[in-house]
Symmetry: C2
């Protein structure tokens, strides 16, 4: 017998992604989101949700672009800061000691220090109550060589992404490998 | 200098959620998704993406409901199986040794054995290339008492959710706590 907890957003895991954009004056900004995920394979696309009050909201709409910057565990403080402060009043890149690099593909900046970044062209927006969903087509993924595996792809054990739990507001690290996808389940096939 | 990896969905972390639905004949079915996340706080809502070829596609559209079932690490084999097999040919609940419970709130089944389940009413669908995004309003969250913390809310360290990496197709466990959200970043505020 399960206990009913009501309508909260008690889902897990949620990501810790820093969304990069340029404001009207061309100042680079970051907004940390946990409401987001991959939403399509072809076109490869991700979605992030923002409230209209967030400073990044207009920036992304007007520039039609954003980046998703995936911090390593060591950048947890910067990630949390970018979710508390507003780019209206603060230069988040400067305060967090991060470097904004202008993407050569979309009109948005990415974080030089983070191991994995995704450059997105805004495909569409979807209104859902207090949040607007921004769906971005992935134009390119860029990674530090140091986090690539033998296949030249990002290795989670080297990227060490953060995992967020909105319920207790705690950031977690990545745990141990549990099994191989499209593999360990085969034993149950008819 | 970052290396360009092209347009892949190399994002992390992504969730491991088993989507529960009833097919036309009333048979309960499960579909494992990594393309999804929370998308709104009010209404509390989650999104999951499915290809039109998935057996759950029509089921969710016609019943206007689905559940998100969050497996503990111990259910990794069942989670992977439900992502490989098709409900067209197999009774996934039976094959995986799982019990379907009819939700009393929405027209969809949830998994009795999983510690955390989210019951959703379909709010809208969004077409994005090969995937359709299903946005579901959270009608209720239900959890086993054994995974609740002192505040009566799901504790990730007890739920032990799986984390998926689409790039290398590996399931991971949850790691150690890294810090408190809306807290550790305060030290960087101006």
């Amino acid at each position: 017998m399960k206990k009913s907890l009501g309508k909260g957003t008690h889902a897990m895991p949620t990501p810790v992604w820093l969304v990069g954009s340029y404001d009207m004056a061309g100042k680079p900004n970051l907004a940390t989101v946990a409401w987001g995920g991959v939403c399509s394979s072809d076109p490869a696309a991700v979605t992030i949700s923002l409230r209209k009050s967030r400073y990044s909201y207009d920036a992304i709409l007007r520039r039609g672009a954003f980046t998703v910057n995936i911090p390593s565990q060591q950048f947890a403080v910067a990630a949390d800061y970018a979710g508390i402060a507003s780019g209206k009043n603060e230069d988040k890149f400067a305060q967090a000691g991060l470097t904004a690099v202008k993407s050569d593909l979309v009109d948005a900046p990415y974080v030089a220090e983070f191991p994995l970044v995704i450059e997105c062209r805004l495909l569409q927006t979807v209104e859902i109550g207090v949040h607007t969903q921004f769906i971005g087509e992935i134009v390119d993924v860029k990674a530090d060589e140091s986090v690539l595996d033998a296949n030249g792809l990002p290795d989670p054990a080297r990227v060490l992404p953060l995992i967020y739990s909105p319920t207790n507001r705690v950031y977690y690290g990545l745990g141990e490998p549990v099994g191989k996808g499209f593999d360990i389940g085969k034993q149950l096939m008819k």
